[in-house]
Symmetry: C2
Subunit: 728 residues, 2 copies
């Protein structure tokens, strides 16, 4: 094994050590008054109760799935015997990252509020460093998990040296399954929880009773704050853990294929490059996190610049470091590979910027949507939907251009070098996510600031604290949109790279079945030397094959159905919440004048139980669809399914994220005093828009990224079933 | 030429003669009181003014496009010299059908109201037969246009006998371009007009002022009624004209390819089969139309049965007749071909039924959405969107199963017979649309009944007339959903079949460039005998080719962007309308107490001018995208684009149609007295849902079917540019 490999676990440990330092630093801050601590404890209790309940349900699903995988692996020899264990560790580490992040976030809310009472700069630092705990924990654990399995397989897998890298990466690519499944549960469950609570709190509290956001008289307000943590912190953490981990797996697998036969040393370096890029990015993210600070009385622009400065420094150093890395690892086309990484970083930024443009109230699109509030809820919904749909153009075009560039650069502008080109695409996705630790920090601190605001409101802190936390929160909305852009963009590239891994899976599977050559009609090709194109010809994976087209239909359809299922789940849960909140206002006398305390726990319970039940069915759909399609339509059907869910899901995700973000900020824009301000009829219309957008941007939309990759990995795991037992 | 060919123009003339008879019959009915005639004249004047204005704009676009096509055809020899003329006749006939249909509908409204005043049965007959004028005109003109060009090409095209059918159908497949473009303009323009008026009328009239639908005090009420005609009659007519025409073109082209080399007589019969199936269906549709009648005091169920009886009889006879036709034309696999037609009819019915299930207030889904109205507009929107997304499952699964069956039946269960199988898919689409005349009659009579209701309301007709027309209208909503199901299902099948025509276009184009063989790496294949699979291998149109995947992304993205553009157009136009209606209520004193008449004309003008301008850009996107993608990404990119827009557009169209239909009927359900009935807060929420659904179901959704096919045909027309000048 190359010595440079140890850089990855080493950086992982550094990241975790810094996470621990930041955590202790945050805990050493003043936790605020008794009232503030009580409220924070309420929220923390609810969040941890939810998480434990969810992990119980997920744990059962995981054990069942692992048993099934073990059965398949040992009994039918469909997959390797490491998978069941890696499946469990993946889920466990991802869950752990979510748990740590949430623990930090719930501890940080009252401390951020207290720090903001002193100065904006202190508030920013506490919130941002708490967010950094999340970011560093996620990448640290992901690098550690990856390194662990790479080491184990390298040590204990007994295959000839020249096949080793291909075998290891071929096995490891399936290890994303646990991570993806856990991410799906966390996103969908958390998304349902948070949006049911949010919708319930807003519709009855704000619209019907006219009390402000986070008012302690609202029975759903604690559930709403809990939701911010379980959805926007734990859910997002698991989501980006998955993005980071999968992108490295996919790129490593492509590296083994692309550099196959070019010497084991070079191939091993190609396999290690993705995780080293991740380690590099993490190292400089820590540096970037230290540079984020701002002067007092900073406005939004100054704050954004402060965060931007951290990210920019980080990016500059990462780009330089990765150039040295590619050069030093002595790749023949080191410039091309480095170019692909840079392309990934640029593509991610463009997608992020376009999300910001379409969803920030600082720009015209959202201002136009806000203007539509004057003519009522219907026109604001139509305008927001229209905007979201049109907004898909820029991210798609940038992914298209980025992909072509990455492919061309990595393949030395020779388009027939499919494997090298695809490796470029994979590396590009890793590049996009390399600075995840700092982007996630800027992302996770949003809900912390939001919760701090809630805490300040509920505990009656005056002195402009709420205004300061609102400034932080508003900034968080923008950075969250950027973070989602990275998640979506990298998902498209990773899923595309994983498609090639699927074909490698088919090759392995045919080899295991004893076949040595495939018959292409006019000639036979050795299985071990067959190119991707040969497989495409052999299985007729072309666009006129009706099986492929039908798979494409099914994949597109599943993206929509999955969204529909999660939207319906939120709708059902929100209805229960609305009824419960209305019941409490009706039955518990004195809530509105503050003489009686509402039953916060019941609202938390409703959200928790709804999230548990409602997340099972969509997850089952995602798990079973690739297997069923494979059984009926064979390899072309599965590849169609994956391509269909990828292309439709990618765009649906952008549409939903941007529509939702735009409604949210259009509401904020009006609350800032435009078009009549708070309490006006325009504000009512904007709240309806925001409420519709809630499941768009925080439940259905972000789950799609995970769905796409989960289906691909399930297809790879189940490739043996498809190849052996397909019907037509 | 086979004698049986003459059956097509003969049936076309019969259909037109019956259309004329029904028209005269309708005109002979009592046109009602002076007040009723005045209102009808207002609406007619507005509708015709709109149509003339639209045709002027469209005419200019058509002349420019025809000139461009002529330039390309003669100058660059990229296409045949017939195309510019066929392009113009296609657009002209389609526009003519829309004009006749609208002329009939606007004449029929007051007569239907008057007839309904006498009895429900008379009302049904007048409305339904007027709808039949539309249905028969559409299929009659389409059959005539098709026959005309087939005759001309057969007579004047000088190619060797054995190449004749391939040449004719290869040229004619591009003739759908004029029809598709005109359909797109009619759908988008009409959709924007009608929904801007509808949204404006509802939001200010119903919600803000609390006056009922179709109240003459509402300034937008005439525009709303005009909109029903230009959108739901003329727009839908052009849409289904296009579906019918394109499905025949696509199937005929595939017939020539599939039966190539099996004898010119058999090949000619295979080419003629689609148009003969269409003629057959038209003949029995006339018969079915005659059987529709009902007793007095019929409720909705009885009415549905009356319509169902007509359609069922028609279907039974058509199935039997097509069996005889296939047998008599002596196809070796006549049972398989007949089976494919039957599969098409069944698939269409299943899609129609599923639309009915998801959108009719008689079933649980819409009732559930109506229940969500109790918790406000946001939850009703979330629920309706969720329902629409989930509702994609059944239509997609039925298309998938139908396609497999049609393919298997027509290819004799030999999946390697790609051409024969694709012909089966094409024939299946024709089968689905064969009874279009009667389905369109049941579809077009809805807006007529709706307008009759408006006329009755505005002219103050009492005596339960409004209740009767409402019964008819409500039925029309259900049948309209079914009609949309047919349009969507047939679009998916036709576009799939056209993909194969694209490859034939590539072959022609390579041949014209002087190439005789294509090099597949290990072997060369004669261009004339290369199979579709050979082309797929040659151009690398497989799913791992990044150009194809990127095309796929772009295609999916364009579906969304197109929807977004049309939604935004409706939103902008509706805002103008809302402001104008509010202005009139504010400035013209005495509108509300009936002492002053509002300025109806201004509202019609606003809708008209908005529709003109807003339809241009989306149409340009549809026209330019395939050419640009072809220039940058070559053949694989274009095929990816088409497959992406097909799979995403198909499902997006179902989602939008069903969400929109469901909100509409949820509102009707509440208006029938559920959940508080008219004027309750649930009703307000339902109106907002209905308003959001308006552009969904009547503008963006139905335009997608046309978009998909238009892009495919443009790709075929521009295939020479793609093959010669592509960059990578």
């Amino acid at each position: 094994m190359l010595a440079i490999f140890w850089a990855a676990p080493f950086v992982a440990c550094i990241a975790l050590w810094f996470a621990w330092t930041f955590y202790r630093g945050m805990m050493a801050e003043d936790a605020g008054s008794d009232r503030m601590q009580t409220i924070a404890r309420h929220v923390r209790k609810g969040a941890i109760a939810y998480l434990l309940q969810q992990y119980r349900v997920v744990g059962v699903v995981f054990l069942l799935a692992a048993a099934l995988l073990a059965l398949l692996s040992f009994g039918l020899d469909l997959q390797n015997r490491w998978l069941p264990f890696a499946f469990l560790t993946g889920g466990f580490f991802s869950g752990l990252a979510g748990f740590f992040g949430m623990q930090t976030a719930t501890q940080a809310s009252s401390r951020t509020a207290q720090a903001a009472a002193k100065s904006l700069n202190r508030g920013l630092r506490v919130a941002f460093r708490s967010g950094a705990v999340m970011g560093l924990t996620v990448v640290g654990l992901a690098l550690l998990d990856y390194s662990f399995w790479f080491y184990i397989l390298n040590r204990f897998l007994h295959v000839p040296e020249e096949l080793k890298m291909t075998a290891i990466t071929g096995i490891m690519v399936t290890f994303g399954m646990g991570v993806s499944l856990q991410a799906l549960f966390a996103r969908v469950g958390g998304g349902i929880f948070t949006k049911a609570a949010d919708v319930g709190a807003d519709l009855v509290g704000k619209v019907e009773k006219g009390i402000p956001e986070d008012d302690p008289r609202n029975p759903a307000t604690i559930a709403d704050n809990v939701g911010d943590n379980v959805g926007d912190v734990a859910g997002m953490g698991a989501d980006l853990y998955e993005s980071f981990y999968s992108s490295i797996l996919a790129a490593a697998a492509l590296g083994a294929v692309a550099f196959n036969g070019m010497g084991t040393a070079l191939q091993a370096r190609a396999v290690l490059l993705p995780v080293l890029i991740g380690a590099c990015g993490t190292l400089f993210s820590i540096f970037g996190i230290y540079t984020v600070r701002t002067e007092e009385n900073a406005n939004m622009g100054v704050l954004l610049r402060a965060l931007g400065r951290g990210i920019n420094w980080c990016n500059i150093f990462v780009v330089a470091a990765i150039f040295c890395l590619c050069r030093w690892l002595n790749f023949p086309n080191y410039l091309g590979l480095w170019g692909a990484v840079v392309v990934g970083l640029i593509t991610g930024s463009v997608i992020g910027k376009s999300s910001e443009y379409y969803t920030s109230q600082a720009y015209r699109p959202t201002q136009n949507v806000a203007r539509q509030c004057a003519t009522g809820a219907a026109t604001v919904i139509i305008a927001g939907m229209g905007l979201g749909m049109v907004s898909a153009a820029v991210p798609v075009l940038s992914v298209v251009i980025g992909t072509i560039c990455a492919y061309a650069l990595a393949s030395g502008f020779d388009f027939s070098q499919v494997n090298a080109g695809l490796y470029g695409i994979g590396i590009s996705a890793v590049g996009m996510l390399s600075t995840l630790a700092i982007t996630l920090a800027t992302d996770a601190y949003g809900p912390i600031a939001d919760n701090a605001g809630g805490n300040a409101e509920m505990s009656g802190l005056g002195g402009g604290v709420r205004e300061r936390t609102d400034t932080l929160d508003s900034l968080g909305n923008t950075t969250a949109a950027t973070g989602k852009g990275f998640a979506i963009g990298s998902a498209a590239l990773t899923a595309l790279a994983l498609l090639a891994s699927y074909v490698e899976g088919v090759r392995m599977c045919l080899m295991r079945s004893g076949l040595t050559a495939i018959d292409l009609g006019t000639r036979a090709v050795e299985l071990s030397s067959a190119t991707l194109q040969d497989f495409m010809t052999y299985f007729e994976v072309h666009i006129l094959n009706p099986k492929l087209i039908l798979g494409l239909f099914l994949g597109s359809m599943l993206s929509f159905v999955f969204c529909g299922l999660t939207m319906n789940a939120v709708g059902r849960a929100a209805t229960k919440m609305v009824n419960e909140v209305r019941r409490q206002f009706r039955e518990i006398k004195g809530i509105l004048d503050g003489s009686a305390e509402p039953d916060y726990g019941e609202c938390v319970r409703i959200s928790t139980s709804a999230a548990q039940w409602e997340m099972i069915f969509p997850a089952l759909v995602a798990l079973c669809a690739p297997i069923l399609v494979g059984l009926f339509l064979g390899v072309p059907g599965v590849m169609g399914l994956l391509a269909g869910s990828l292309s439709t899901g990618f765009i649906l995700a952008i549409f939903m994220a941007n529509s939702g973000g735009c409604w949210d900020n259009a509401k904020k824009f009006i609350e800032e005093g435009q078009h009549g301000g708070k309490g006006s009829s325009a504000h009512h219309a904007a709240i309806i828009g925001d409420t519709v957008g809630d499941p768009f941007k925080d439940t259905s939309g972000p789950s799609l990224n995970i769905l796409i990759k989960l289906m691909t990995i399930v297809s790879i795991v189940a490739v043996g079933i498809t190849v052996k037992y397909h019907i037509i």
